[in-house]
Symmetry: C2
Subunit: 563 residues, 2 copies
């Protein structure tokens, strides 16, 4: 395995050995380690001293179900702190097959202001001109690249919003199956890529080349136990394959935590119309296949497919977060509209969570009426066109709220919350405020725990356990749903089998803990303090109907969560 280092500014490309202190990390933990070692924490996130890291998780490369995720890391222009945003797709597996331990993008834009494309294949890496791609949406970008190279390449690219340095721009992973668009959406990593004038990276490697496994028997045995567990778990064998994450609508609405009209209510009267169950029936009636795998070998296949009334695919997947943030949060109960909003966001390469939150804030500022889907679609076009209003909205809810003079801004560390109101699901609220990543459900969601989510007691422990676990999975490259099939011994056996290490039963938690500690160290040097680990003031004081709860987890407990 090698580290590939490419400097867009100087054009220099170098392969290096893996430093000793990086070898035991992958994915999220590796991104944190590299940032700590190489990026000045106080640097301008959109300046030449920030770096952008592609880091496959430790288990990536074996097309083991739900275990090939790619992490992208950088200092975030949205939060000003450390950022890791992982995704499925085929980028991770392709990197592993190219024997890339990590890819590090460095430097500012080329002196002449031109745009670059990085091409990596089995013979090496090179920069090519990408000026012909500038301004293109992701769909056109992908088509041009599949044409220019071949239809077996994998691509990580930014859309026009990344080029314009919008702080909610993501990095999109595509391959020859046009359905397979996955986005490292959160934290504005697309703006970091745009700041370096890097439009896309092409991973050109068509044939399987699995990494060596030190103890194949142990690995194979653990894999089998894992797959069996996934096949037996009701959630991964029935829930997700049928409804995707959209199945969360009913659960979250029931517990009163469904963001509705800019987080002014926790229950949406139109939830039924946008629930996973409704979407499933709708898509079946439109003669669509209902889901597919986002990573080769995945047996869960949570990636639902949304068809229009003409039977054509509008978007895939239509995730719960998007339904929550661009649906109920905007008072929109028409799934066709939500799917179209999502499709525009995907073509632009923008985070649907921060953008949905920004539109909610815009509605509160009087720029749209809640429930007006056509207006929401118009606002997405403003974002596409880069009008002043589009720029405001494309920079995410926190900035948009400031510029528009809105007081009810659902954001922490500058990043919008996802679709779980922290007043009704307090453990997830603790994750939002204490995660070094800014408000992000993927850092430790607690809604599936069998607790009273409105009771502040015990939520800090619940969140901490979830955060360590998730940071562990994010470092292994394992999807959150893969976690339904992994117990501690399976994790140990997979890692020990793959690497010949001798990790113990606490490994997953310890790996996650190390990752979070490194991230906190980075943030501390970047200027973060406990004052950043706070819920927006209005959520501490303004009751959320219908349960009429506020966020009341004690600050002392919050401040000692990682002690």
């Amino acid at each position: 395995m090698r580290v590939l280092r490419a400097n867009v500014q100087t054009g220099e490309i170098r392969y290096e050995g893996v430093p000793e202190n990086w070898k035991h990390f992958g994915g999220r933990a590796l991104a944190a380690r590299i940032l700590l070692d190489e990026v000045p924490p106080a640097c301008d996130p959109l300046g030449p001293y920030n770096k952008l890291v592609w880091a496959p998780g430790l288990l990536v490369g074996h097309t083991l179900s739900s275990s090939d995720r790619i992490s992208i890391g950088a200092k975030s222009p949205l939060t000003g702190g450390v950022k890791e945003s992982n995704a499925g797709g085929s980028t991770g597996v392709r990197m592993a097959w190219l024997r890339l331990f990590a890819l590090i993008i460095e430097g500012g834009p080329p002196a002449d202001g031109s745009w670059r494309l990085l091409v990596v294949d089995k013979n090496g890496a090179r920069f090519e001109a990408a000026d012909d791609l500038v301004g293109l949406g992701l769909i056109d970008t992908g088509e041009r690249l599949f044409e220019r190279f071949n239809d077996k390449i994998g691509v990580s690219a930014i859309g026009p919003v990344g080029e314009r340095l919008y702080r909610s721009a993501g990095i999109t992973h595509m391959d020859n199956d046009q359905h397979l668009t996955r986005i490292s959406a959160r934290g504005g990593l697309g703006a970091v890529m745009g700041s370096k004038h890097l439009k896309a990276i092409v991973f050109d490697f068509p044939s399987a080349n699995r990494p060596e496994v030190v103890d194949p028997e142990l690995f194979r045995d653990a894999s089998k136990r894992y797959i069996k567990a996934l096949q037996e778990h009701p959630q991964t064998s029935a829930g997700y394959p049928l409804y995707g994450t959209a199945g969360m609508v009913n659960l979250c609405n029931t517990v009163g935590g469904m963001p509705t009209r800019n987080f002014s209510n926790g229950r949406f009267e139109g939830a039924e119309a946008i629930s996973g169950e409704t979407l499933h029936e709708l898509n079946k009636s439109r003669n669509g296949e209902v889901s597919h795998a986002c990573m080769a070998g995945c047996i869960i296949k949570c990636s639902n497919i949304y068809h229009g009334s003409d039977g054509e695919v509008i978007v895939t997947p239509l995730e719960y977060e998007t339904i929550g943030m661009m649906g109920s949060n905007l008072g929109i109960d028409d799934p066709d509209v939500i799917a179209r909003l999502n499709a525009v966001a995907n073509d632009l390469g923008i985070d649907t969570i921060d953008t949905g939150a920004a539109l909610g804030v815009a509605a509160e500022a009087g720029l749209m009426t809640f429930g007006d889907g056509l207006r929401a679609l118009e606002l997405m076009e403003e974002i596409r066109e880069g009008t002043p209003l589009g720029r405001i909205l494309g920079n995410g809810a926190a900035l948009a709220g400031k510029v528009l003079g809105v007081k009810r801004i659902p954001a922490i560390k500058g990043q919008a919350m996802s679709a779980y109101d922290p007043r009704a699901i307090k453990g997830t609220g603790v994750t939002y405020i204490t995660s070094p990543q800014g408000a992000d459900h993927t850092c430790g969601l607690t809604i599936r725990s069998k607790v009273d989510h409105t009771n502040p007691e015990g939520q800090v422990e619940l969140s901490r356990d979830a955060q360590y676990k998730m940071a562990g999975y994010d470092s292994l490259g394992v999807c959150i749903f893969g976690g339904f099939g992994m117990d501690a011994s399976i994790v140990c056996d997979l890692v020990n089998g793959r690497y010949g290490w001798d990790v113990g039963i606490d490994y997953l938690t310890e790996l996650g803990k190390k990752s979070i500690l490194m991230e906190r160290e980075f943030n501390r040097s970047a200027g973060f303090t406990k004052a950043d680990d706070r819920m927006p003031e209005w959520m501490v004081h303004e009751k959320l109907p219908p349960l009429d709860t506020v966020f009341d987890v004690p600050e002392e407990e919050i401040d000692s969560i990682f002690d």
Copy 2:
């Protein structure tokens, strides 16, 4: 002396005695003390837990030359830290004559969303409805209030930009002389007032009522020495009366620190056309009086008056900061245009420094051509109208730069620099980054020191001394130019004469130091660290022509400045 406390939300108004630990403070230091004692540092600056403090300096009330300044303090929505913004005018003296030690505005807006006016007279204080004033510029607001009350009132009010919570909205002090418009411009205090739906405060007290002086002879003697020194100093007897602060243009341009085209050059080829000397001749030729006093009794009279070609006043004063930020910084060398930009800003109640910087950033983003004064005036109208672009620009350079994707943003702690490029005037650069107030020349300007301003050595000491001194003067209510006539013994005698205290020769510096330490304590609790005391990255790396200097004062020295 009493403290007046008025809660806009509940309508409650209360007079209270002065707490023991406030008694020895005034102005800036008092504002810091009150904020530390009463405002949660982590609160939402535009939420109900922030407070807005009017605090006259310790020497205010005697119409002693240049010594009646009013400080306004709050947690700043622009910087997120402590803020004090002082101004001349008659607000301070009126408060002293009303025996108001401090005025504290509390609470959020009234529940019905209506707007209030606070009226203070010798009989007490009351809220009145102000909905008829909403949306009015400062000129119309003043006229309506002088009509509604009488032409002897003093007013502190916000314009439409404060109502809309723009983060560069100030609070404007007016009295019956329409020329006498002074603004507590920096840090977005007008937005704090707007967040509470308080449109204006009327100080209705027409007759002189000087505070008691414990040792009149000592006070009188020190006053005489002070006035004599002002009369003898070339700067206060000739420089400022003739040219106002506009006299700074030639000095700052000579040392290569005049912000030009968004801080891309330190020397402006059009400087001569906008210099204090040119303005003086121009105004004389237009038959105008050239300057006046902004506070009764001031013998410096630095407040220059700018007349149009028809002999009508366009604006007064036309300060150096405005000439630098809305002139050279925008590449504009037509003083009539700069004066008109300033007049619009005054009517809106917006900071010309942060707005000039925002326009410079907008020019860099391609929204205007440098030098195009008509376009700059159009952009000011966008701000007035509250269009999306106007909202972007009205929120100051730091936010505007982020939304517009500009990398060269001249701001620190979210607040724009004033018109001294810190790469050429490094002591002032140290003040910009280390002042708890964000980038602000009034916190410790070093340009008049006889040092090599481009040499990094000794700049930290220079800045520290200047910061302590200025924080001292800001706490006394003494204008920076009054400082030309005050030595340590005059300060002691004035304070000891007025209060019967026994302060020593280090009093001014000690007072300033206490103020800064309180401010830093507030900021620390609000989440500030040394990572906030940093120059924008590009100013550390990008050379400023024509001297080709970068900001290179060592970080270790910077971090220990107040140790």
